[in-house]
Amino acid sequence: MAIDNQTVRKIAFLSRLKVEDDKIEPTKEEFNKILNWIEELNEVNTDTVEPLISVNDVTLKMREDKVTSGNCKDEVLKNAPAAEYDYFAVPKVVE
């Protein structure tokens, strides 16, 4: 399944990454190399195989619904690139 330039642009946007125009072609070629290599998995018939999602079959435990940490607004905001009025600040999103 070879991908084209249009697909590279689409994946880049889905990844929220920019690929410069002159890098589209080399990126496509590199991806096709990798995808081509991955195609070797199709040599194996897996029609009846159950996918393995996690190696340890622990079932997630229930816990009491209570606050275990909190009231640390200042610590949480300390690493924010921009914060105002005790909130994270972002560019205007509503016109």
Partner: protein, 484 residues
């Protein structure tokens, strides 16, 4: 007195207990080594002031007889573990100003046992790489380098190089596809990736959550046993950590291996296998045989597909995990007129090229229309690879293989850089273990004709790290490998 930074952790603990020197003196000595070896680029952030303070407190504890399991031992921490109030970068520009307000569980466990943190060690960006060359902070130089600078392996390259060069007594690492074992092999030291779920992943910057596991990198097998005991354990903050008792790993070192069945997978010996490593592999098997173990050939039939499976699953999980780096709540932010511009500019400038490559591959294999063909297919392959091991362990107790088909290569090696797949192929002996969630240890076995270390890998049944320590200790004695 001879150089106290050359002692192993177990030797250091004895010396601290008998007050041959203090933790403060020892920490100062390591800090001096670090200063003199800055050209290796092993540390991203040095933590001298806090380390000396911790050492002082350890000395008080020794004086009072209240010393804990790792009291006063100066460690290096891979810069993927969040450390409270110490900058944690994952070797990425996108996190290069991040100061965590919390501590990872593994590092907290080490602190609770009295460890001293010398600083944060270099790695491949977000642990994605096998040579430490993708770090935003530049490559690490392998202390075994001769005429030209060699890579230390990756991703835990700073950890392995620092341990080998005595810039810390031992270090933490993480392993998603070989990131503890390969650098340990390249730097002539020992490292173990424990069973998935053995160590908590809480507070470790996530790469591929179903594969990531923390473990120690140290000078010898005993030190790894001591460190792992401290790092491991169930943690409520990580739902994938397991409620399994952590044994005293050191107690396994003196066990005997009579009658133990050692499996050698035939698929790990392809026609083109480097004859040097093949010879060391045979030698390691002979050591074990001479001690009464039974050597038998086993088969892991889907080995050939492990790399391709890994390079679907790991990027897929990474693309999802790294979606959080958006420039809003922490880390680097680039300007953008609109929110999407801000995301795109931040991520494009903040991530390096290998990380971007993996995010995009991961996004592609998870995207509508391709999910079944790639992601689901890889999850099914993962089942087959996992079942191969489970079947093999019906016939043997431990599996012995080389860690890597090659020794450390030069920084900037053309063939590795021109095609990313060439770099990925170095993981051929290590990735299956992560896919199957098994414990595996790498220890040095001998030198190449060019004088560079080779590593041997032992793979165990789930939660059977103890047997790995037992067998590794025997190979260690017989191989008589000389560290730097």
């Amino acid at each position: 007195m001879s150089d106290i930074t050359r002692l192993t952790v177990s030797e250091t603990l004895k010396a601290l207990k008998t007050k041959e020197f203090t933790s403060y003196e020892l920490t100062e000595a390591y800090l001096r080594n670090m200063e003199n070896a800055r050209n290796y680029n092993t540390y991203i952030t040095e933590n001298a002031e806090m380390a000396l303070q911790q050492a002082k407190e350890s000395d008080i504890r020794y004086a009072k007889g209240e010393n804990r399991a790792l009291e006063g031992i100066p460690l290096g921490i891979k810069d993927l573990f969040c450390t409270k109030n110490i900058r944690t970068t994952a070797a990425s520009h996108i996190l290069d100003n991040f100061i965590p307000p919390y501590e990872s569980t593994v590092t907290q466990n080490l602190l609770d046992d009295g460890a001293v943190f010398l600083g944060k060690l270099n790695l491949d960006e977000f642990a994605m790489g096998g040579s430490n060359e993708t770090s935003y902070f530049g490559p690490v130089i392998n202390p075994w380098s001769k005429d030209k600078p060699l890579v230390p392996g990756g991703s835990s390259g700073g950890s392995a190089a620092a341990v080998a060069a005595h810039l810390c007594a031992a270090a933490t690492g993480t392993d998603t596809g070989g990131s503890i074992r390969e650098p340990a092999a390249f730097c002539g030291i020992t490292g173990i990736k424990p069973t998935y779920g053995r160590c908590s992943r809480y507070g470790i910057v996530a790469f591929a959550s179903s594969l990531d596991q923390a473990g120690p990198i140290a000078q010898d097998v005993r030190d790894c046993a001591i460190l792992l005991k401290s790092m491991a354990g169930f943690d409520e903050k990580d739902s994938t950590s397991c409620e399994v008792a952590v044994p005293d790993y050191e107690s396994f070192l003196d066990g005997d291996i009579k009658g133990l069945k050692i499996g050698l997978p035939k698929e790990y010996r392809p026609d083109g296998l480097n004859p040097e490593i093949a010879a060391y592999w045979d030698k390691a098997a002979e050591y074990l045989k001479a001690r009464g173990a039974k050597i038998k050939e086993i088969s892991l039939p889907h080995t050939k597909y492990a790399l391709a499976t890994y390079y679907v699953l790991a990027p897929a999980e990474a693309s999802s995990n790294l979606a959080r780096y958006d420039g809003i709540r922490y880390g680097f932010r680039a300007d953008g007129q609109h929110l999407d511009d801000l995301y795109i500019n931040t991520r494009t400038q903040g991530f390096g090229s290998e990380v971007k490559r993996r995010i995009m591959i991961g996004t592609y294999v998870l995207s509508a229309g391709y999910y079944d063909a790639y992601f689901l297919k890889a999850q099914k392959m993962r089942r087959l690879i996992h079942d191969d091991f489970m079947n093999a362990f019906k016939e043997c107790d431990v599996i012995l293989t080389p860690t890597s088909p090659i020794t450390a290569f030069p920084i900037g090696d053309e063939s590795m850089l021109e095609n990313p797949i060439n770099m990925y192929l170095n993981d051929v002996f290590t990735v299956s273990v992560n896919l199957a969630g098994l414990p595996a240890l790498s220890l040095p076995i001998g030198l190449s004709a060019g004088g560079l270390p080779y590593g041997m890998q032992l793979i165990g049944k789930p939660f059977d790290e103890g047997t790995l320590f037992n067998v590794a200790a025997k190979i260690e004695v017989d191989a008589k490998f000389e560290r730097i």
